[in-house]
């Protein structure tokens, strides 16, 4: 693995200058401060960004968040373990299944139980489909922000198929609450394998279709290559995870590093980038969609039979203690740090949201670029404000 270092970043993009601070610098003659959001279509929710501009060049920025804060962690302390499960779906609402998987597994770890093999495989299939769905929303909106109108229609067409599978499985499309602590509530419906197979086989040609629209497109390359560069060093220091860090050349995926669900049974690659720019993050996510589809195709080959729920009581009282469990959500490391005091309600639930931490990289990425690139950089971080603010 070749780390993409700061020096390399400077070679690619000499304007990178990390020394400007929006708060302390005195405004120059051509400098102004403008406000972007919170009501702005390209901020993907309610993100407000204060930009300090020199002409059209961004010299400093500050993200102002919290508009969607609902106090999820506080609510968790006042709900039983099962009651809290639907709340986590509302954080990253374009990847609700992944959130649910992380939470259920964290509580299972806390209790010292494990979901049965059949449940783990079904969980893996649904979570990977969710990863594809989440990346499709990212691709569609990101391309739309940059000015490519077509991909969003294609992406939402395919996403619809995935949502149909979720709907057939558990009746919900977005905030699914698909999993339960200890396993699954619903047995897989009869055509789950057939539906997944049809979708995944079809999907591989669809990804190629998206790529023909964008990958070689001169405008797309012009708008993404060399934009929002972050070196591996910076990305690690800032705590970035997921596609953001992989595009900077760090080959790290929690599905491989600390396998959960049934990921240890399947073959898949971890795509990495070289330059840590918006274009590389685009390529990484495109490849991740292919890999997810590959995992699904392997998983449906052999879904074990057996129970779908571990033998746990209806009243969950995990033994006192604590656990930190992280999964590779579509946006990065999604961690749950749960402390039990032996009662039916958690003493503390801390949710480590990937979007919140990744958003911190925004300032590093945006400096030296043009206002129009701000939109591309927000898009490439793939943030969901429901998760940033919790």
């Amino acid at each position: 693995m070749n780390d993409f270092l700061k020096t390399d970043a400077r070679e690619v993009d000499p304007v990178l200058d990390h020394s400007v601070d929006v708060e302390t610098t005195v405004l120059g003659a051509d400098e102004i401060i403008i406000n972007m959001g919170p009501q702005h279509p390209s901020t993907h929710g309610v993100l407000r960004v204060k930009l300090k501009l020199d002409g059209e060049k961004v010299v400093g920025s500050e993200c102002i968040i919290g508009y969607l804060h609902r106090g999820v962690e506080k609510i968790a302390e006042h709900r039983t373990y099962q009651q809290f499960a639907p709340y986590v779906d509302r954080m990253d609402y374009v990847a609700a299944v992944s959130n649910g998987l992380g939470y259920c597994e964290a509580v299972e770890k806390l209790m010292g139980v494990e979901a049965p093999p059949r449940a783990r495989v079904i969980r893996t299939i649904l979570t990977e489909l969710q990863r594809i769905a989440s990346h499709l929303v990212w691709l569609g909106t990101h391309a739309l922000d940059i000015g490519a109108l077509t991909p969003v229609f294609y992406c939402f067409r395919e996403r619809e198929e995935i949502l149909k599978i979720f709907e057939k499985y558990c009746g919900a499309r977005l905030t699914t609450h698909a999993f339960r602590i200890g396993g699954l509530q619903y047995e897989a419906y009869d055509e789950l394998e057939a539906d997944t197979e049809r979708f995944c086989k079809d999907f591989e040609t669809k990804v190629d279709e998206y790529e023909t629209l964008l990958t070689e497109n001169r405008i797309w390359i012009g708008r993404t290559k060399g934009i929002g560069i972050i070196s591996a060093e910076d990305a690690i220091a800032i705590g970035a995870t997921g596609p953001v860090i992989r595009a900077s050349g760090v080959e790290w995926d929690i599905r491989k590093a600390a396998p959960y669900a049934a990921y240890d049974q399947y073959k898949f690659d971890i795509p990495t980038g070289k330059n840590g720019d918006t274009y590389d993050r685009y390529l990484v996510r495109m490849e991740e969609m292919r890999q997810s589809s590959r995992i699904c195709l392997q998983a449906i080959q052999n879904i074990p039979t057996g129970p779908i729920m571990a033998r746990i009581g209806k009243v969950l009282k995990p033994p006192p203690g604590e656990v930190y469990h992280a999964i590779e959500a579509p946006k990065g490391e999604l961690g749950y740090y749960i402390i039990s005091d032996g009662t039916t309600q958690p003493y503390r639930v801390r949710i480590r949201p990937p979007s919140f931490v990744n958003l911190q990289a925004f300032d590093t990425m945006v400096k030296g670029h043009l206002v129009a690139d701000v939109v591309a950089i927000i898009g490439t971080l793939d943030i969901v404000l429901g998760e940033v603010d919790r």
């Binding site: 804060h69 506080k74 220091a237 800032i238 995870t241 656990v323 930190y324 005091d341 309600q345 480590r352």
Partner: protein
């Protein structure tokens, strides 16, 4: 059940009632029976008014008992939160079970060799390593952790409130090492009036994470570049994730001033 019942009351209007089914049911039944018994023999001739009349007393009797139980548990939580919340959070019974498995591997030996008494405790919980370190040496230990032990990703920094303990807060760092593919948790005890050094200079991700801890718990990180609220409005009073901050508490003054309404509900 004890913990659930004592913690819940403030939550939602219907919950305390759910929690009290035996009391209510008994009250209803006892109210029902005499009322029905009294009604039947007393007013047989006037069929329609009598039929309409009996339901009323039980309804009134039924409505009366639920309110006191609903109000009673709510009062202590709002009035004396430290007394209502903590029965379950008491430190000793909680920390006792995880500790039987003390952690004594090479990692801890290296830390102990370097910092001696700076490493207060070390144990394993659910196969995860936990170190409790001294606040005075915290910054030094953090630097050592990153540079020597190669835990270069600060996955998460958060805090936990134990209001009954002498030093009420735990600041918790969840670390990951790419080189070793290992995770480590470091905890520091911080008192309410104490400050703790910021690690934003060591892992820059701590910048926002520490701001969030300040926002939610009111722990001051000395040396932090910009310690302001991050999720809540800047002028908000109170620290919501503290245990003595009831779930229905709001900064009513702020809400009135900024939203122009009496309640944020």
């Amino acid at each position: 059940m004890r913990g659930a019942a004592s913690l819940n009351p403030g939550n939602m209007p219907n919950e305390p009632e759910d929690k009290q089914p035996p009391a209510n049911a008994a009250a209803d039944k006892s109210a029902d029976k005499p009322a029905a018994d009294a009604a039947k023999p007393a007013a047989p001739p006037a069929a329609t008014p009598a039929a309409a009349a009996p339901p009323k007393p039980p309804a009134a009797a039924g409505a009366a008992p639920p309110t006191p139980p609903a109000a009673k548990p709510a009062a202590p939580v709002a009035g004396a939160p430290a007394a209502a919340g903590p029965p379950k959070p008491t430190a000793p019974p909680k920390e006792a079970p995880p500790k039987p498995e003390p952690l004594d591997n090479d990692l801890v030996k290296r830390y102990k060799q370097r910092f001696g008494e700076g490493i207060r405790e070390a144990w394993i919980d659910r196969k995860q390593s936990i170190l409790v370190v001294d606040a005075a040496q915290y910054e030094e230990i953090a630097r050592f952790t990153r540079d020597q032990e190669k835990f270069n990703l600060l996955a998460d920094l958060t805090a936990v409130d134990w209001p009954r303990r002498e030093k009420r807060f735990d600041v918790v760092l969840n670390l990951y090492s790419f080189a070793k593919n290992e995770r480590l948790r470091i905890k520091v005890h911080v008192g309410e009036k104490e400050q703790i050094s910021s690690v934003a200079g060591i892992w820059s991700t701590a910048n926002w994470l520490e701001r969030e801890v300040w926002d939610m718990f009111g722990i001051v990180f000395s040396g932090h570049p910009n310690l302001t609220r991050i999720l809540l409005p800047d002028e908000w009073q109170g620290f919501p994730l503290r245990k003595d901050y009831d779930i229905l508490t709001q900064d009513t003054a702020w809400i009135r001033e900024n939203l122009g309404i009496e309640s944020g509900q």
